[in-house]
Amino acid sequence: MAASVLRVKGITKSFGGVQALRGVSLDIALGEIHCLAGENGSGKSTLIKIISGVHEPDAGEIEIDGRRFSHLNPKEAIGLGIQVIYQDFSVFPNLTVMENLALNSELMDKRKLVNYKRARAIAANAVSQIGFDVDLDERVENLTVADRQLIAICRALLQEAKLIIMDEPTSALTKKEVKALFAVIKRLQARGLSILFVSHKLDEVFEISERYTILRSGENVASGSTVELDRKTFVFHMTGRQFEDEFYTPSAIRREPILSVRGLSLGGAYADISFDLAAGEILGITGLLGSGRTELVETLFGIFQPEAGTISIRGKEVRIKSVKDAIRKGIGYVPSDRLTEGLFQPQTVERNLSITVLDRLSDHFGFLRRGAIAAMTRRWIGDLSIATKSPALPVRTLSGGNQQKVVLARWLANDLSILMLNGPTMGVDIGSKYDIHVLMRKLAGKGLAIIIVSDDLPEVLACASRILVMRDGVFVQELDPTVTTESKLSELSTGIA
């Protein structure tokens, strides 16, 4: 085996009595793409922060380029060629590409004045190293998420990185951008850099990495070469649970559609959309970010007003004037962004869960029936097995999966006939993802009509009974999930074969 660029041994770290890492080891070879996987809370982030010098380990040893350290500080770590690209990329949005790239090295050289000629040369050299085609004078805030990420990578290169750690780099990228990112990673590898790729998405782990290390509850549970890994073992190591294979065979689709959409259009978002949805059905809508999928379901939820076309519920044409109106008509919606749209993060679980049913749980004068609210909250926490120590805790203390269950419970408490979910398991760990899928199928079985919007293709294939592919605001094709493959779906939604 090649020489190691980084070797970490027996790292232990606790935060105020909570053991985040228990004797974790990690070994990354020179020029290797290594994947660090684990669910939320498995200790991945803590390990990265120890390697990059942000946290000091309680015990253990870090070896970089053959030099041993008991701990590092951030400056030392950078000096040794360790660069972390965090999820927010830490770029300056109000500065240009050139300034973002060059200013760091100008500062490092302790120059007082900025020489723009030299800065431009530095920046141009950096972007050319990864074949990144960008206008150096563009402000970074005008760039896409994917481009900002590349800026962060270029900046890492300028600081003579030997090991680039990428913390869940694909979470905000489209499929196409992920492909481009992977090409860049391969290029970096060809230049002799090592990459530590942190992810919990299996497909990516399989696609990009050569070796993997999986953490669970702060311990090493598995490591080895990726080719010898299969999906089932990976999920088992991540969660410690065995899962059944997933697919949905609708048992009780009603003949008459509950929702009929005809020729619905909204300028700049989608055009001439028609489809039917019946009770007991799970309709999957997939498409890239910007394909109009979100605007479409949000129109059905009363956020947008369509410019043309009709919406009928149970055969009667309706106009959905507002969100409240949509709820009254039996439509619920789990928005795509839990943080800003789905939940009131600092408020209690109880308030988050009961907000949509307060009309029912208060008396004539608007006084809350607090006993009924508490009872309802307890019931849903039990029914959906939401892991929280108390309904009085802020909802932000819950894990992503449990937060999502709170949003779901809010709608299920409402006696809906149509439930729409946008990215129902985004940022949710595998165990909860599985639970949410099971729940959706159970609800459909009970006669709820469900629409899921997702670009997680395996998820769409596993859950939907019918798939509509959307591209540039129109439906391009309807597919039967039992006879469709992921690559076919991806092809249709990107328009690239």
Binding site: L343, Q345, Q347, I355, L368
Partner: protein, 346 residues
């Protein structure tokens, strides 16, 4: 085992919400004891309490109005302007219509109309501010800075800046009634306002909506709340409360004027923040605000009893208190955040 653990956690959570109230109570007792020790013959006397009870209701009620606006994530800087304008309208009406030397029985209907008139002006002022914020999406701080100028300007315009005096005697006589020769009517009004607003916030659907919308208006929209109507109603309540405060000021001064209570605006913001209303919206209780009102009243009455401390120092002290409280709250929330992060690593 599990049940005791849950119970303990629930208690832990409660006390994590309550420390603010507890802190305020400690502060209140501290200020009280301090003033009592430093000015034993002056501070803890019936006369001084009676005088304090006559002083704080007017700005206390306006503080509650500002607090409501802050809970929904806004602020209402127009309270003083609203109070003065509505009082001036009532005063002008009384001065212009009540015949001189009319017997009390004949004056009462005029008083009722004047009060209703003033309350409607307050509601109208609140509606204007609420409309600017909810329909035109103007940041609350700018919208109400504007309405404050506007209302004060109108008030100056219709009075030429002169005090409106010569009110029927009956008004100030009723306004300055003291129950049991000790509890002023204005205090009773404050008490009723504080209790009803407190109940509205903690026990009604609308109160919950205010907190939720103040936490995250976007999520509120996705949960089916009507943000426009919540904001509008909040500022209408604030306007209504301001006009109540205006009526109290008018009774105390036996006149109305466009620039009465000018320093109250910032004082009320200070009280709201000191009382634990989150300037970012979504949190805070009327209990906390009430304690903050008392703390500031004790401080200011106490300081007045020192002849060698100039009134100018009061601004220094209050400004200092505001900044200290803001910094302290920030430090606390950082500590809580760190704790939450540690917990989530579990």
């Amino acid at each position: 085992m599990t049940t005791t653990k849950t119970a303990a956690t629930v208690r832990g959570v409660r006390s994590a919400r309550d420390p603010n109230l507890l802190r305020l109570l400690v502060m209140l007792v501290f200020v009280f004891v301090l003033m009592t020790v430093l000015r034993p013959n002056q501070f803890a006397t019936i006369a001084s309490f009676n005088s304090m009870m006559r002083q704080f209701p007017e700005y206390g009620i306006m503080s509650i109005g500002i607090s409501l606006a802050m809970i929904t994530g806004g602020i209402d800087l127009g309270v003083v302007g609203t109070a003065n304008l509505s009082a001036i309208v009532a005063a002008k009406f009384l001065i212009g219509t009540v015949p001189r030397g009319a017997p009390p029985a004949q004056v009462v209907p005029y008083l009722i109309i004047a009060v209703l008139l003033s309350l409607s002006v307050g509601l109208a002022c609140g509606t204007i501010a609420g409309t600017l914020i909810s329909r035109f999406n103007i940041p609350a701080i700018l919208a109400t800075l504007g309405t404050q100028q506007l209302f004060t300007g109108i008030a100056i315009g219709i009075t030429n800046g002169r005090p409106q005096s010569g009110l029927p005697l009956l008004y100030s006589r009723i306004g300055n009634t003291e129950f049991f020769r000790f509890v002023p009517l204005s205090f009773m009004i404050f008490f009723i306002v504080a209790v009803s607003v407190g109940i509205m916030l903690s026990r009604t659907r609308f109160g919950t909506f205010m907190y939720m919308m103040g936490t995250n208006p976007r999520a509120a929209r996705y949960a089916g709340l009507n943000n426009t109507s919540i904001i509008l109603r909040t500022y209408m309540i604030s306007g209504l409360l301001s006009s109540v405060a205006g009526l109290i000021m008018m009774a105390r001064a036996n006149s109305a004027k466009a620039d009465y209570g000018a320093p109250y605006t910032l004082q009320c913001v200070l009280i709201a923040v000191l009382g634990g209303i989150d300037p970012n919206g979504g949190f805070g209780t009327i209990g906390g605000v009430t304690m903050a009102i008392l703390i500031l009243q004790f401080l200011s009455s106490g300081l007045n009893m020192f002849n060698n401390i100039s009134n100018f120092y009061r601004d220094v002290i209050w400004g200092g208190v505001l900044i200290l409280v803001l910094v302290f709250n920030k430090l606390l929330s950082w500590r809580e955040e760190r704790r939450a992060v540690r917990k989530s690593m579990n």
